[in-house]
Symmetry: C2
């Protein structure tokens, strides 16, 4: 509470030691709650700390111990509610582990990502969790891959990288969703959104093709409509699909915001999404539930994946890790109304 008497210099461990009539070593031990210190001494020191309004200097401690409790958290697009949820999961787990997250939102800018990685190293972060910007190559991460720095990649695989990875099982998630569309009677099903340069898109398309092939349905490139993975991209992709020769009756979308953009554009054009035409998203962001109509989607358990990614990193930092982890989280189809499930009841109680 109180300021140090005379000077501007902040109170240090030495001031406390003087005030309490002990050595600075003793104060240091009190600060880390060492059992070596006698109760009476500890109280005396604690009183001095209180009185002088001492603030522990973690920077100095870090210099001495050559380790920090910073964790770098590199997010590719924080404006996307999906990544915001991921970030929340990561942040929470980091906080609970007694670490502190340094945030960087790269906005899909690989150059910025490079800068940020460099800076974080200079700040001595204990490890890094990152959802890589589009176009990140294993080569970009090579420096870190050498176990030099604990690091986990999340949500987007980087091919050829030997780093730990945590993400959803995109392929089986997409397969489940498309199988559901097929079961509802859809035959011409398009895939909307994303670009083939994104591993996530390729994985989801693979799932789409698995289901289509299984049912003996067409699933060639002419049924894939690429676009930016945004709401606007969803609108564009669906417009393109509607202009195509074989007009699809259902749309498996790269993610929820694409699906929301697509269902919006479909409604604008007079289609009744959920009966004329089916739409399914991926991720299950909060918004999906309140879309019109409520969006059928694949729950990726985003928040939990974030938490798990952080846990993996912590284990790696603390050396309790079994080495490189590759985790593909299970997904769950959430049937709402956008898929054309006219008969099926809404299986879900609205909650969030």
């Amino acid at each position: 509470m109180a300021e140090p008497r005379g000077s501007r210099r902040p109170t240090t461990i030495v001031d406390i030691a003087r005030a309490a009539g002990v050595s600075k070593s003793t104060v240091s031990l009190v600060l880390k709650a060492s059992p070596l210190i006698k109760a009476e001494t500890r109280e005396r020191v604690e009183r001095a700390i209180e009185q002088l309004g001492y603030v522990y200097n973690r920077g100095a401690a870090s210099l001495r111990t050559a380790s920090t409790r910073f964790v770098g958290m590199i997010i590719s697009d924080l404006m996307n509610p999906f990544f915001a949820e991921l970030a929340c999961g990561i942040e929470d787990a980091i906080y609970k582990a007694g670490y502190v997250p340094i945030l960087a939102n790269t906005n899909e800018d690989a150059e910025r990502q490079t800068n940020v990685l460099k800076t974080m190293r200079e700040y001595g972060v204990a490890g890094i969790i990152m959802s890589p910007a589009r176009g990140t190559t294993a080569w970009n991460l090579a420096e870190f891959a050498g176990a030099a720095m604990p690091m986990v990649i999340t949500m987007r695989r980087v091919e050829g990288s030997a780093l730990s990875y945590v993400g959803p099982d995109n392929r089986s998630g997409a397969r489940d969703a498309v199988e559901h569309l097929i079961a509802l009677g859809h035959r011409d099903i398009a895939f909307l959104g994303g670009y083939a340069t994104m591993t996530t898109q390729r994985e989801r398309i693979a799932g789409y093709r698995d289901a289509m092939a299984q049912a003996g349905l067409r699933h060639d490139d002419e049924l894939v409509f690429e676009s930016m993975p945004t709401r606007a991209g969803g609108r564009e992709a669906v417009e393109a699909a509607l202009k195509s020769i074989r007009r699809p009756t259902a749309f498996m979308c790269y993610n929820d915001i694409v699906a929301i953009g697509a269902s919006f554009a479909l409604s604008e054009r007079g289609f009744t999404v959920g009966s004329d035409v089916g739409v399914i998203g991926f991720d299950d962001i909060a918004e999906a539930q309140h879309n019109a109509p409520p969006l059928t989607t694949v729950d990726a358990h985003t928040r939990q994946l974030g938490t798990y990614a952080a846990d993996v990193l912590m284990a790696q930092i603390q050396g309790t890790s079994p080495g490189v982890v590759e985790y593909f989280g299970s997904t769950r189809l959430v049937v709402r109304r956008s898929c054309g499930a006219t008969v099926a009841p809404v299986r879900e109680r609205i909650s969030a």
Copy 2:
């Protein structure tokens, strides 16, 4: 690139000095691009840095200079797209100013906020930007208010606090919106969402009352339906309003997610939002545009406010500030279709 020869010890400025045949002071000067250093010497040092794969240790530098380039960024609810957008604005500005954000998502938990403030001080942040958790009092912030630590509060005013504040002009924004509803012919207009313990809600309600009083319309407490400021809260609030004696025909909502929840519930009950009944939100989050129907709302210029808050903090840190700033950003009514503007054309080209 290359690792130091023998030991595990990371390369330091001293290793560079030895390799380049100069003193560590010289290396230090090279690192800060001092004009004192001869070009030839600089090159020699830079070559050594490259060869030994030296990583600058900012922690050590901070200890010596007694200052860091960390900025604390305390967000009350990162899952809310409004705050995610705010966070993006802040992060970007901080990054551009050459600082590094430490993130904390308090999740409206005042206790966590207290912890986080303490921790950030221990890490020696140069300043803090924070959207306070609900229930934060001036007393909670008293320690910081003494100009001891540069700090700017954003989005939610804390009464009695002498800290800088940056946020939208809630009162005039809400007034504009309600005036628009009145101009469209609505007479029974309710206010939905938030709690009177939140300064932001009180300000927005004040604007609502300004407009209602001006038009000579009822605006007593019976037309205010409080709820959590979430989508679920919006649903609950509108249900309560529909049960009330004097059933309103229009709803001014605390924010966009409340409005989205409300318009969802109204549609579920068979109302056609935008003709039977009007709904207006506040914030203009990305989602508003793709709501069904697209949501009329008050653009708070969220991202810019974040950027501005960061700029104010930077000025305060660098001592170029004119002291305590109170900024109430102008707002802009964005007329879409939820307000019952059946006649008015949609004034906006869809863009995001």
